[in-house]
Amino acid sequence: MSRITLDHIAHSYLPSPKTEADFALKEVHQVWEDGSAYALLGPSGCGKTTLLNIISGLITPSHGRVVFGERDVTLLPTEARNIAQVFQFPVIYDTMTVAENLAFPLKNRKVPQAEIDRRVAETIEMLGLGPMARRKARGLTADQKQKISLGRGLVRSDVNAILFDEPLTVIDPHMKWQLRSQLKQLHRRYGFTMVYVTHDQTEALTFADKVVVMYAGEVVQVGTPAELFERPKHTFVGYFIGSPGMNVLPAEVAGDRAVVGGHAVALGQHYRPQPGRTEIGVRPEFVRLDDGAGSLPISVRSVEDIGRYRILRGAIGPHELNAVLPEGRAIPASPRVVFDPARVNVYRDAHLVEAEA
């Protein structure tokens, strides 16, 4: 296991990229700590699989270096990098038994037979594949096959990191949850570095220590699930994470007040006047029904009752505004809302603005 350093990595699929737009992956400079679980989260085509393939060595980046621990592996082929990867669709060797599948990467590396037997037995135990160890792998269910794919990585002692490329896509929903928590347990127990690509925010948030949110070829924020929820650094992060996503409203910001469509909104902190396009972001969870002073009038488009709470989908003027409301209280015909001042973030040109000290 070792730390992964992405040293000013950028990649373009074109032979001679000229403009910024030619890059599928814009510059990324990050250090991923040994033994942590990272999730790469973003919509399709945001460059997350490109980044994963750069780490696994299936793609050589146009710029920058990939360093595992102290070792520069940028030009090393996949097989020399000591990584394991679990793919979207389970890859298993059909004609082999489960145990043979697990022994395969060790056999290829000329590990002594006694050692292979010991490690395979250990891995089978770890993954709970005991009852089917002697069965042909092709007859198993998708989640068992995915476990075998994972096992071929776990069985090796030389693995720096295990990469996951949307591994739960083909798994049945009820098994998804089970497999996910099992994976998390394994990670806690064995402490391998994990990089997990997904476009499912629940998967990313429940699973990772740090979530790397990507958007249009750029890493827009790296943070813990709580950071992403509370202080999204980019309006995209606010919008992408959370259900429904963060409300983003154009506003004029001055001091500790913002003006939204002619109505003043209190901010928790003091901000300098901002040049450019300014917006405030507030999560639907921090929008309350209140017709007291400083409240804003909203129009209601629909109310979705999902049992534990209700989602009010409405608008302030032309701008969409969602609120998560508790059950039980009636929603008035022309409701007014207030925002929790401490939870309102300010954005300039889509990027988070820090308050004055």
């Binding site: 996949t78 097989e79 990867q85 793919f87 890859v91 059909d94 990467p105 007859g139």
Partner: protein, 289 residues
């Protein structure tokens, strides 16, 4: 929706039924009819019972032809299947090379059998043929009209040239259907080229290979036109396969009874071998799942 229950569907299959009856069942029955009777022309028939069958089954001419046919099929399968796999493996998976290779591979398949025969008959001639002249020029005593070994070699090379493409195309179809992730996973697992073939490519080609083997077996077992055009079954009877023997008996000698008995035996052999093949492969498939 309400389901309708009546027997009208039978009318739908009637045309096919009639077609099959006239094209297959009735001719086959005619053959059965011939096989148990003797005729001296004038449309007079005499009951012969199993006489023709006994005659055919005990004739060394039939035995020799059957052995030649089996040997031919075995050689063809032993060459074309591995060669076809090998070529399919070396074919490009993407880029401009793909259509070029596919067209080149399809070309021999588009040439009619008798034309293939004629091409090779000319090609191998020692006086005007490119191959024949060349081999003779190299000091090799080659003459497919006189030497049984040369005749066999010519026919086998011709069949390989004509039909390996079919195996290649089928295998190629199997190969391109393997997702890229399998190769990536194999790389990560440190698999050798041989392991990739043995544990990924071969299992994934399994189905198409079964079809390729079955098709090539049946076709080679029934081969007629090409050797007939090239060697006419000679020299002597060195390349007289069952089909050629059958035509010689039926059309050449006009021995309708023995010919009919022979075609039924021939048909039964193919049916039996295909059935065995089918059973073996489907059972093997079940064991694996």
């Amino acid at each position: 929706m309400e389901k309708t229950w009546n027997n009208k569907a039978w009318f739908m299959v009637l045309p096919v039924l009639l077609l099959v009856a006239f094209s297959a069942v009735i001719p086959l029955m005619t053959v059965v009819n011939y096989s148990v009777q003797d005729t001296f022309g004038n449309n007079e028939f005499f009951w012969a019972g199993t006489e023709w069958f006994e005659e055919v089954l005990s004739s060394s001419r039939f035995h020799d032809a059957l052995l030649r046919t089996i040997a031919f099929s075995a050689i063809i399968l032993a060459i074309e299947i591995p060669l076809g796999i090998l070529i399919a493996l070396t074919m490009p998976r993407k880029g401009w090379g793909v259509p070029v290779c596919l067209v080149l591979m399809s070309l021999p398949l588009l040439i009619p059998w008798n034309v293939v025969g004629t091409i090779w008959q000319l090609f191998g001639r020692t006086d005007i043929g490119l191959l024949g002249r060349m081999l003779t020029g190299l000091g090799i005593d080659y003459n497919y009209g006189r030497n049984p070994f040369d005749a066999w070699a010519t026919i086998i090379v011709m069949d390989v040239w004509h039909w390996t493409s079919l195996v290649v195309l089928l295998c190629y179809a199997g190969l391109v259907s393997i997702p890229e992730a399998y190769y990536q996973a194999a790389k990560i697992d440190g698999a050798s080229r041989w392991s990739v073939f043995r544990f990924i490519e071969l299992p994934k080609m399994n189905r198409v290979l079964q079809i390729a083997i079955l098709l090539r077996f049946m076709d080679s077992f029934m081969i007629y036109t090409e050797p007939f055009v090239v060697t006419g079954g000679g020299p002597g009877s060195a390349t007289t396969f069952l089909s050629i023997d059958l035509v010689k008996t039926a059309v050449g000698q006009f021995d309708l009874g023995p010919a009919a008995a022979m075609s039924i035996i021939y048909f039964m052999i193919i049916l039996l071998l295909s059935w065995v093949f089918f059973t073996v492969t489907t059972q093997a498939g079940e064991d694996r799942s």
